[in-house]
């Protein structure tokens, strides 16, 4: 994947398909310790124990149409080639996926367009409540769809005007905490 944000979109869609009501996307950037950590956590139905141990094998998947699943395998490979770590844990109450990267590693894909990823998840399933936390050293931005929905009342969060506004809102805030940098 060209951007880490695309991995996030891919993994979060697993959460939606696992009937999650809540998804947390947590990004921590600590440039002093050269660390970038991405966590995606949901309260979906989880992955069965016997499948979990080799779920990052491309030939293991919970889907029934064909026996190949690349999403987690690709995300793991992306972390591993940046001297990072990858962790997945799951039970019937949800799943947590965590990928760690060396922040300045030459093979680390740019973070990319997080706002567009968030919008795409909302368009996939507008009922899900999404929390997006992004920390860059001491700066932090938190975006919660639950709060936005309260503001909107009976206007849908997937209305194209609302989505465009949200996209700019997230973009501005992410740029702000990252000091204008966008990679």
């Amino acid at each position: 994947m060209k951007e880490l944000a695309l991995h996030i979109l891919d993994i979060a869609e697993n959460s939606v398909n696992a009937d999650a009501d809540n998804i947390l996307i947590d990004i921590k950037e600590d440039t002093k310790n050269n660390d970038l950590e991405i966590t995606i956590e949901d309260d979906g139905k989880g992955i069965k124990k016997d499948q979990l141990k080799d779920i990052t094998d491309p030939f293991v998947t919970s889907r029934k149409t064909r026996p190949v699943g690349l999403g987690l395998s690709l995300f793991k490979a992306a972390a591993k080639r940046c001297d990072g770590n990858f962790l997945i844990d799951s039970n019937q109450n949800g799943t947590i996926v965590k990928a760690e990267f060396k922040h300045d590693h030459i093979d680390r894909a740019p973070l990319g367009n997080i706002a567009q990823t968030i919008i795409s998840i909302l368009l996939w399933d507008s009922n899900v409540d999404l929390t997006y936390k992004h920390r860059y050293n001491t700066e932090q931005f938190i975006f919660e769809t639950q709060k936005i929905k309260e503001e909107l009342g009976n206007v849908k969060i997937t209305d194209s005007k609302i989505l465009n506004w949200l996209k700019e809102y997230i973009d501005e805030n992410v740029k702000e905490i990252r000091g204008g940098e966008f990679n």
Binding site: M1, L6, L9, D10, E13, N17, R63, T65, R66, G69, L70, G71, L74, N113, Q116, T117, I119, S120, L123, W124, K147, I148, E151, L152, G153, N154, V155, T158, D159, S160, K161, I162, L163, N164, W165, E168, Y169, E172, N173, E176
Partner: protein, 121 residues
């Protein structure tokens, strides 16, 4: 910086629009968003679709689907007009999206050279 105050104002505008629109028989656009689709650029296709809808103020339902097994033809996008065949377009670029929206979604003319499958009504 944008504030939630602004969002409240936008909400009032959208509420007025909603009153004029009916829920039934909208054109439907479906975008393939499996791992294969995402890797091939589906998120940018979705973005282009949303931009066109916003720019032209269209009333269209946009949904997404997972991998349908035509990974080599991603990014994929289906257009389903009420009462018409469901058309699958493949190997799309952002420019193609504009053409499909103008010709097919708005004017009802299928963009034949981009079609890879047809599902009859």
């Amino acid at each position: 910086m944008k504030s939630l105050e602004e969002l409240r104002e936008l909400r009032e505008k959208v509420e007025k629009d909603m009153e004029m629109r009916k829920e039934i028989n909208k054109p439907k656009i479906i975008i393939g968003m499996g791992t294969c689709g995402i890797a091939a650029g589906a998120r940018e296709i979705l973005k282009a679709v949303m931009e066109e809808i916003d720019k032209r103020d269209l009333d269209v339902e946009v949904t997404q689907t997972g991998c349908i097994g035509m990974c080599e033809k991603e990014p994929l996008m289906d257009v389903k007009l009420p009462g018409k065949d469901r058309i699958t377009y493949g190997n799309l670029t952002k420019e193609d999206v504009k053409r499909i929206i103008v010709n097919h979604v708005i004017n009802g003319n299928v963009v034949d050279e981009l079609v890879i499958a047809r599902l009859e009504e």
